[in-house]
């Protein structure tokens, strides 16, 4: 055991756990730091499944086809080398989860795979409607083994509050104990696994509240490079409940749910009319956009609704019973007898901390994985690929960090914790971002939002964290403005076509308090 080697892992969802366990397997110790315990991480919400070309369904599936689907889904906005690495290793990742005891659906020792959006063959391993939860349970149990050995040390109510960088090298991170308010600093290699940027869109995402985006804002201000910040995936069918958007899973449409809007007093099943072949099962971004467009059409009124009245009893009892219970509880509508109003909600962030093929950032010694990182998913991620990316990425980041890991110091700081972010400021930033980063974007709206955000960045009386958040928000808007084309999740009415000249990543950095934005090759495995 290399007792003296110690790595910090921030975030204890799928990516953080995979990283911590992988470090422990190498005999490298780690601090597993998270705002809340793993049981509360967003990863437990994943329902649909995890992709790997295991070819157990007699369809002759191969990693090469998984690769092709992922590249196409992501609109070729990622290096082939990275995606190939992911899809080639996917079967091994899923087998690892099975060895750890995740009870994925199987028969006679063979995993059962199902169809999932954007993929031609059955390659999604799942467990009823709780795939993320049962995988997390298996990883949490495995991590406990190493906790007992002292290799993994949990800091389960600790929030990242600072990152210190000198000459592009990571010096230390600071964390606050949310229970005692005590501050600590840790030196050494660090892996950021802090999830998506939900907190920038409070109440508007399908994800969890502890993913505040603060960690990303802190990293950005410290000089860490972010890519493709404009790439935000909206899921077409979500329902608003106070504090979040609740996902109405694709399965509801897969089983026969139909989208309509009232036009001239009659329901108009617009997806079926516009896309006779795939209808309600078109890709997420296409449906989300159509939902915006039909609301503008003459004679149309009210919300878009999901009509599930024709689904049979067997489906309600055996496949969608949880969904029905949730809709009844939170919306007071029984989907068996009444249509359910739905609208698109923010579901996944393809953009984030840019990492190279080893998952290291432009700051040496700082790594990132999972939804916090920008890797693998290009301009749009396929359902089932994010759990894969988080698990695989966490493992790669851990192996890379382990190579150069050394001794790490822990210091109790005497300083007071930094002032927290203000909810009023977060709400203002959210409104500005929503204006510029909707499903259908226009230059004028984005410009207005950019101006408002610039003003916010310069405003007096902002707490340090709110200023960092405004800065990262500005980088999101500038990235969207700079991409003068439509690709994947980024759709502009003034540039509705894809333009090959823009098959590049937007790369944003913060240099002396100012944002530097440039385009970099999508084919490079390096950050810049």
């Amino acid at each position: 055991m290399e007792q003296n080697k110690q790595v910090n892992v921030v975030g204890a969802g799928l990516a953080g756990l995979a990283a911590a366990i992988t470090l422990a397997e190498q005999g490298v110790g780690c601090r597993l730091i998270s705002a809340q315990p793993s049981e509360r991480a967003q990863s437990v919400l994943a329902e649909g499944g995890i992709n790997a070309a295991l070819d157990t369904m007699g369809e002759h599936d191969t990693p090469a086809e998984h690769f092709a689907d992922t590249m196409r889904g992501g609109c070729f906005l990622e290096a082939e080398s990275a995606v190939r690495n992911l899809t080639d290793h996917a079967p091994e990742v899923v087998r690892w989860l099975v060895r750890l005891g995740a009870p994925l659906m199987a028969k006679d020792g063979q995993l059962i795979l199902r169809n999932f959006g954007g993929q031609k063959k059955k390659r999604t391993a799942y467990a009823k409607a709780s795939t993320g939860k049962i995988i997390m349970t298996a990883l949490i149990d495995e991590a406990r083994k190493y906790e007992a050995q002292g290799l993994i040390r949990r800091y389960p109510h600790h929030e990242l509050t600072g990152i210190t960088v000198e000459d592009c090298n990571l010096k230390s991170i600071a964390v606050r104990d949310l229970f005692t308010q005590e501050m600590r600093a840790f030196t050494g290699r660090t892996i950021l696994c802090t999830g998506g940027l939900n907190g920038f869109f409070e109440g508007m995402t399908t994800g969890t509240t502890p993913n505040t985006g603060n960690a990303a804002a802190i990293a950005f201000s410290a000089g860490v490079a972010f890519a493709n910040l404009e790439m935000i995936q909206y899921h077409p069918t979500t329902m608003g409940i106070t504090g979040k958007r609740m996902l109405v899973s694709e399965a509801a449409r897969g089983e026969g749910g139909r989208l309509f809007i009232m036009r001239d007093g009659k329901p108009w099943y617009f997806m079926e009319e516009k896309y006779p072949e795939l209808g309600n099962l078109m890709p997420r971004d296409v449906i989300s956009r159509e939902m915006v467009f039909v609301k503008r059409e003459k004679g149309c009124e009210g919300e878009v609704c999901l009509d599930m009245r024709a689904l049979d009893e067997f489906v309600w009892q055996h496949k969608l019973s949880d969904l029905r219970a949730e809709i009844i509880a939170y919306q007071h509508i029984d989907p068996k007898t009444d249509p359910v109003p739905v609208s698109p909600g923010i579901h996944f962030f393809m953009g984030g901390v840019r990492v190279d093929d080893r998952h290291e950032t432009n700051v040496k010694g700082l790594f990132a994985a999972g939804e916090a990182a920008c890797k693998y998913h290009g301009a749009n991620r396929l359902g089932g690929n994010s759990m894969l990316g988080a698990t695989f990425g966490g493992r790669v980041a851990a192996l890379s960090a382990a190579q150069s890991a050394g001794h790490s110091e822990e210091t109790v700081l005497t300083e007071a914790p930094p002032e927290p972010s203000h909810p009023e400021c977060r709400a203002e930033l959210r409104e500005i971002l929503l204006q510029g980063l909707g499903i259908v974007r226009t230059a004028s709206e984005m410009q207005k939002a950019e101006e408002a955000m610039s003003l916010k960045c310069d405003a007096e009386q902002l707490t340090a964290i709110d200023r960092s958040r405004a800065l990262l928000g500005l980088a999101m808007l500038q990235s969207a403005l700079a991409r003068k084309e439509s690709r994947g999740a980024h759709y502009r009415e003034d540039f509705p076509e894809r333009d090959e000249a823009f098959r590049k990543l937007t790369l944003a950095t913060c240099e002396n308090g100012a944002i530097r934005l440039r385009f970099v090759s999508a084919d490079a495995g390096e950050v810049d």
Binding site: Q36, P37, E39, R40, A41, Q42, V44, L45, V98, R99, L100, G101, A102, P103, M105, A106, K107, D108, G109, A127, K128, S130, K133, I134, T137, A138, D141, E142, R144, K145, E147, A148, R154, P156, H157, F179, T180, Q181, G203, T208, T209, P210, I241, T242, G243, K244, M246, E326, A329, Y330, Q331, H332, H422, P423, E424, A427
Partner: protein, 239 residues
């Protein structure tokens, strides 16, 4: 409809608690205690029912849809998830909201549930070798993976107290999962710890069964865990 939340509050590092009431105007039929707390905390200084500025209400939440266990608290005397407690269930429009009582209070409604995790470690709940899951055990392993470690079951358990020798229902699902996935030779130590810390202290009141927010069939998991760990029944015979 306007609801009043009477919240039992406590400042950090202070022993005494006090009640403070807040009002919340519901925006939808689906509004829960979590909706009210979220809305109140959109201000840095939420106003209490008397119209005075107060400090934000500390509570834990994450998924807001009954999947993560963060928001467990005692609502009108019953341990529940705040995001599962519909306001319109209240007949009077006034709800009493308190932190879970079996764990130390950190601040307001946030409690320190560390003991849950310490107990799981004492029970040595991890796979010592690779798991081997037979098809007929898969459903049981699935169901026992669903526990969210919220602590509601311990709140109503007549025998559980923090730091006590009896660990309560919160450890049973994970035990059951490992018992179904490992061979008797590989779960011998888990079984020994289970007999000592769970089986021995359980009076089978099954109060846990009524409160589990995930509707886990605690009785079934308990029966299976007892059969495998204590009575050494063979797995093939169990469903």
């Amino acid at each position: 409809m306007t609801y009043t939340l009477k919240i039992l509050r406590r400042e950090r590092n202070v022993q005494a608690s006090y009640w403070e009431s807040f009002t919340y105007e519901a925006v939808s039929e689906g509004d829960t205690v979590a909706s009210a707390l979220t809305a109140l905390n959109t201000s840095t200084s939420p106003k209490n029912a008397e119209g005075e500025s107060s400090r934000p209400i500390e509570w834990e939440c994450s998924c807001l849809q009954k999947r993560c266990g963060a928001c467990a608290m005692v609502i009108d005397g019953r341990p529940r998830l705040a995001c599962d407690a519909l306001l319109n269930e209240s007949k009077t429009g006034e709800l009493r909201v308190e932190p879970l009582r079996k764990f130390p209070v950190v601040c307001d409604l946030t409690v320190d549930r560390t003991i849950l995790y310490d107990n799981l470690k004492t029970l040595r709940l991890w796979p010592s070798v690779e798991a081997e899951l037979a098809d007929e055990c898969r459903d049981l392993a699935y169901e026992s993976s669903e526990c969210i470690q919220c602590g509601c079951c311990l709140e109503v358990c007549p025998n559980f107290y923090a730091e006590g020798p009896f660990f309560g229902m919160a450890t049973v699902p994970l035990t059951t999962r490992l018992l179904t996935e490992l061979s008797p030779a590989d779960y011998r130590e888990i079984a020994r710890q289970y007999a000592k810390h769970t089986f021995a202290g359980c009076g089978k009141s099954l109060a846990c069964k009524d409160v589990c927010p995930r509707r886990i069939d605690t009785e079934k998991l308990l029966v299976n865990a007892n059969a495998l760990a204590v009575w050494k029944r063979k797995k093939e015979k169990r469903k």
